[in-house]
Amino acid sequence: MKRILVIDDAATVRLYHREILEQAGFAVIEAINGLEALEKLEMEGPFDLYLVDINMPKLDGYGFLKALREKDIPQAPAIMISTESSPRDREAALVAGANLYVVKPIRPEQLLPQVRGLLGEGHPS
């Protein structure tokens, strides 16, 4: 089963993503900010995909992705999720190491094809 690390400081958002992804057959691990995500990475090894919020305390999504991409581990795809929709935000996310930038609100029918596509289980929409 593919493992996805969901990183978001909002508990409701993490639960929402968990329900969508688990119903689609993925295993979900949660982290409440970038720092905890790096700890989970150390403890539980690399994941198959990262779903990353931008604005989080302690270590934001950009900081997490930068640290992730500097690690000597198999590099899995990352989807950055944000409320901010400007081209500048999108570009910053891609520069930080995101494979995809998705603007909230997230809909299951939008998210799942993108996740499957990045995992090689289909084509990203």
Partner: protein, 208 residues
């Protein structure tokens, strides 16, 4: 080894400790020093000088080092006068994510000085600023928090502002939020996240 009488007393400063004077004028000069560590120390020590608020706010606009920025934000939070609060609120408009998040974390701890600004922030034309304002409410221990959140979910037209507010209402909402949560669901009937978050909030406050 015991010290013998007559020997000079060794300096009591630990390695790396600063010897510079800590008066306002010197600290303000050091805040502009080329050495990052000196700027960081100055920023920290200026927390004890309310008169330094304006200089710290000005430095926020020019400082490149993330650690110094973080310390400046923390010092402004310690000063917490009107100049400092306005400077921290200005950070919510910044494109610098780290600065913005640091300011949000500090503002959350300052309910009394932040409260008078909250109405204006929650009506800012920029939805991102309204979202950051809701983020500030997350742990702002102020009696108005629930009322501010209810106003957002009843009136704000931007879905992501409402989504951020409903997340928080699930944690701090009381039974008086029920009608507003149900009304929110009706305003965004096609949005799965709003339906999910509002249902969860209603369940948590015992009105599911």
């Amino acid at each position: 080894m015991a010290l013998k009488k007559g020997q000079p007393t060794p300096p009591c400063h630990s390695p790396g400790e600063r010897q510079e004077p800590r008066n306002l004028e010197t600290l303000l000069q050091t805040l502009l020093d080329e050495d990052v560590m000196k700027r960081r120390w100055a920023a920290r020590d200026l927390a004890e000088h309310p008169a330094a608020a304006e200089a710290l706010v000005t430095r926020l606009r020019h400082e490149k080092d993330a650690t110094v920025l973080q310390v400046i934000v923390t010092s402004l939070g310690c000063i917490a006068n009107e100049v400092a609060i306005c400077g921290l609120i200005d950070c919510l408009y910044s494109e610098h994510t780290l600065l913005r998040n640091a300011a949000i974390e500090v503002l959350k701890e300052l309910p009394e000085p932040v409260a008078p600004h909250m109405g204006k922030l929650l009506h800012d034309p920029d939805p991102d600023v309204r979202i950051f304002a809701v983020n500030v409410l997350e742990s702002l221990r102020h009696p108005q928090v629930e009322a501010w959140l209810l106003e957002v979910i009843l009136k704000d037209e931007h879905i992501n502002v409402c989504a951020t507010a409903v997340d928080l209402l699930g944690e701090v909402g009381s039974p008086q939020s029920r009608d507003a949560l149900r009304a929110l669901k009706q305003r965004f009937p096609e949005e799965p996240y709003i339906q999910f978050a509002a249902d969860l909030a209603l369940k948590r406050i015992g009105a599911g």
